[in-house]
Amino acid sequence: MANPEMDRANELPNEQEVVRRAAAGDKDAFGVLYRAYAPRIYAVVYGLLMNRDEALDVTQVAFLRAWRALPRFQLGRPVFPWLYAIARNRSFSRMASNKASSQAVELQERHGSASDGHDRMVELRHDLGSAMAKLSLEQREIIVFRHFQSLSYKEIALVIGCPVGTVMSRLHNTRKALRVLMMDWEDDT
């Protein structure tokens, strides 16, 4: 892929060749795309919907739709933003028709992170997950891409389809909102 901004958003080395084969009906090639991108799509969709079963459903539906639309896919473009756009639309419409499902984002302890003790970590996971659930979909989306997928601003802009400036301001506003929601927790430290 020529665009350096997409290096992490587009991790499959011979992606275009795989896409070309998948678009021609090669299911094994589509399987390669699936294995490369489904876990990442699922992680972001889970961050949006906060429900494992729904996130798996949306991931599956997104890939079924992608399979049907692949023959019309413009070769040369990165696949992840395209796949994510399909999953994002499904997530937003699923969320709109299922407003009662938000409770908390289930978070795990990151491997290799400095441990604050088990109880403290459980508390942090719970409070941060509950705080994230109170954010809007767009806010959760940007937090997931930045913090859990480690995408740069340019990569996020490309995936979400908005200017870099919008990413910067949305991320800052989201952090401010999250900071307010986590104020009590911070006061404990």
Partner: protein
Amino acid sequence: MRCHEVGELLSALLDGELSSSEEQDLLRHVQVCPVCSQEFRDLQRLEDMMSKVCLPDLPDAAWEEHWSCLYNKLERRIGYLFAGIGITLLLIYGFFELLHMWFLNPAVSLLLKMSIGILGVGLIILCISTSREKLLSRRYDRYKELVR
């Protein structure tokens, strides 16, 4: 640099998204401004909290199982397509056969032709009406995308 210009640049500084000159300008301001300095510390604390957690992932075996389920659906889709084409061709063939054997045959009575004709028209209307209802109800079905 003034406080109202800093805002979202603090986040960008935290994420390493600024050029070195922008970074130096901003750090110079943060060092002398207690308000922006406090805001930057708050953002760093949040970043520290976020760095300790991650989203849950599924084990590789679960992804393989998920893929084989999806693969079967893709395969069945081709089966449905061929079956649909075959049924359509058979229906067209049957229609012309019926036309040839019954309706164009002077030996068959007019009453029988009319009865079969009316029955055919009724079945077509029922078929169209049911299909339309199914399509419309699917459009507004909240659970249509749930893969069961």
